[in-house]
Symmetry: C2
Subunit: 402 residues, 2 copies
């Protein structure tokens, strides 16, 4: 029997995150007055220990034991060689994928949700708020909060709230409150409903509601949480790539190409940043973040200062942005419909260290079906974007070797 997977022991889970801020320089986020945001300005929104992490330039940051002992519910995750896909493509390329779908909520999101819940708890916070579009991030935070005994409130975009009752049920099973956004619980929600009583909601409105619910809580024991874009979120996700590197080392392999899909950037950063570190230190390697042609943030938009949300509650961030009022076409990959891109991912594109690609929805779905019928696993619409480029690369390898 040919083996497919490289599985680490629990004791081999990486003990430190890699912080890319040690190796690249970002322009600072700006406040409403145009001046750089100071850490204390963010204190009503995030706990100070996470704010410190957000601005830290320390290259390796220890993962707390109490975070590891929740991550090990599902980590380490398998690194799988896609032998059946390789055969179907007739490629000489060796294709590996990191399977983050084995987490309880089903995505990579709990890698940061668990860390954020831990740091909030450690800071004395009792309640977290967040928004969710399709529900992956909200369910990840609900899961994480249940592990640390925190209350959790999720503002879920109303159209998803109604279309995806299972995600809502999952959040409730974990003890979180999930409300349709726009809601009557916040001024931002009430304003949106006044404009349009039948508003289907949007991620922009939901973010505004979640931030407002956190900062207006008079007990001071509530904070907001974001599932992508920010530096500390990218940091927490690097455990994916650090694990993958260990697994490849066990095989005596080092990749020529690393590929990840990118919406806000955290999935891509997770697999890619540990290899970006190598590239900055001289390794020859191609690194591709992949986005939809329908929401071409890195491949078509300008690099500017823009807000992270529609209501302009967030600071101005230096990033590729289609504009905070941009509404992308209703493609299925809900996680890749964000108008902006993580400042660190953006900076790496600006510096030419990584090369963004864009693919069409049709090609992504064809790639997903090819993967399902060979490797057996049905990938998410977001993941299909990375797969499409992996298949392009595998075909290129075939041509170059003939």
């Amino acid at each position: 029997m040919e083996t497919r997977k490289v599985i680490l022991k629990e004791t081999e889970i990486p003990r430190r995150w890699y912080n890319i801020l040690a190796d690249i320089k970002l322009n600072p986020p700006l406040g409403p007055d145009g001046n750089p945001v100071k850490p204390e300005d963010l204190a009503p929104v995030f706990p100070m220990n996470l704010i410190e992490q957000e601005v830290s330039a320390q290259r390796w940051i220890d993962i707390p034991e109490d975070v590891l002992s929740v991550l090990n519910i599902w980590r380490p995750t398998p690194l799988v060689r896609a032998v059946s896909l390789e055969k179907a493509l007739g490629t000489p390329a060796r294709i590996y994928y990191k399977n983050e779908s084995v987490s309880p909520p089903g995505s990579h999101k709990p890698n940061t949700a668990v860390a954020q819940a831990y740091y909030n708890k450690a800071f004395g916070i009792e309640r977290m708020t967040t928004e969710t579009g399709a529900g992956q991030w909200g369910s990840a935070l609900a899961f994480a909060c249940s592990q640390y005994g925190l209350e959790c409130k999720v503002f879920m975009v109303k159209v998803s709230f109604e279309q995806k009752p299972y995600r809502k049920s999952m959040m409730k099973a974990w003890g979180a409150m999930c409300v349709a956004s726009p809601s009557r619980e916040t001024k931002a929600g009430r304003d949106a409903l006044e404009k349009d009583p039948n508003s289907p909601g949007s991620l922009g409105i939901a973010i505004s509601e979640a931030i407002e619910a956190a900062v207006t809580d008079e007990t001071g024991k509530t904070r907001y949480s974001l599932g992508s874009v920010l530096n500390h979120v990218m940091l927490h996700q690097t455990i994916i790539g650090l694990e993958a590197k260990k697994q490849l080392e066990l095989l005596g392999e080092y990749p020529d190409v690393v590929i990840g899909c990118a919406g806000g950037g955290s999935n891509f950063a997770g697999i890619a940043y540990p290899f970006v570190f190598d590239k900055i230190n001289g390794k020859e390697i191609d690194i591709f973040p992949v986005e939809p042609i329908a929401c071409p943030t890195m491949t078509k938009a300008p690099f500017v200062y823009d807000h992270g949300d529609t209501a302009k509650y967030t600071p101005l961030l230096p990033m590729y942005s289609l504009g905070h009022t941009f509404v992308p076409p209703p493609i299925h990959a809900g996680g890749l419909r964000y108008h902006g891109m993580s400042p660190t991912v953006s900076q790496l594109v600006v510096e030419g260290i990584i090369q963004p690609k864009a693919v069409s929805q049709t090609e992504t779905y064809e790639s997903g079906v090819t993967f399902a019928r060979t490797e057996g696993i049905i990938p998410a619409p977001e993941t299909n974007h990375a797969l499409a480029v992996a298949i392009q690369e595998a075909k290129n390898a075939k041509e170059h070797c003939q």
Copy 2:
């Protein structure tokens, strides 16, 4: 960091299935004439290599390499110590669970679907038919058929077909055809629709349609597949318990109690039969199949000869049965709403080797929520039945040790 999981290497996947027919005697299935069914009578329904397995009394049966090399897409599966649940219960008991949810379709079902697809392919069959209620079995067979290049047709109970579009999408992604049952494609379906044009369908009707579609195919290249009840299905699932035994051995553990939920019996047989083998050979161990109070096959029904389906297409099987026309209340655990019980599970109950338990839906859901908020994984309604009894046992252990 305390470790939670025991993870085997791929090379440690068991290489043989355990066949309980080596250790217990069953009364034979009977045909419509009241005489024992002969292997050749089943030839239009199943391929002969699976029929031989169905009647084999060989204790250990080699798992073909080509089956192992598909099972290793997700196997070996983790054995996890439920440390957080133990703490929450304050029990001295050590609780382990075998996580079969990591398979591509999300349940234990592909363990037999893959084996059945392989044997059908090896026998020259080109197309398989089956029925599915909620969709787990249909999607498992769709996945398995895609791995061996077989066509697959799934008759899905109409009410589920309409309520659960995602399962239908999964089957289509794997290349299977999925039709709502009753359909106009079979006589059984047309008869059902004539009686009631708005029939929501039933598992009984869907089984009849799938069998009819297989036996009436004039090319002779189509066979039917069943996801539980039969001897060869139980056989294929024993890989679960054999793996679990290896994992417990690595910890120096041997269980006092083994618990599994039982609808048709395959989930229970999978975890339990390797331990039943030990018990027959003198080990002291309690083994509990758990069913819903609402469908009390083993705990309330008589041990009789009955049909496996409503339309009486199947032979008469010796089993506990609530009657092939029994319609259980609409509890959420769709997989535990079967009127009968696998003949081998039934025989073990008759002989007093295993002790069935029944639990209420309310208790199962409370147990599932407790598990979700401690162990982090949201279990299926079926699994919650096993959990409810595991929690009862853990509480008993606490009382006995105080």
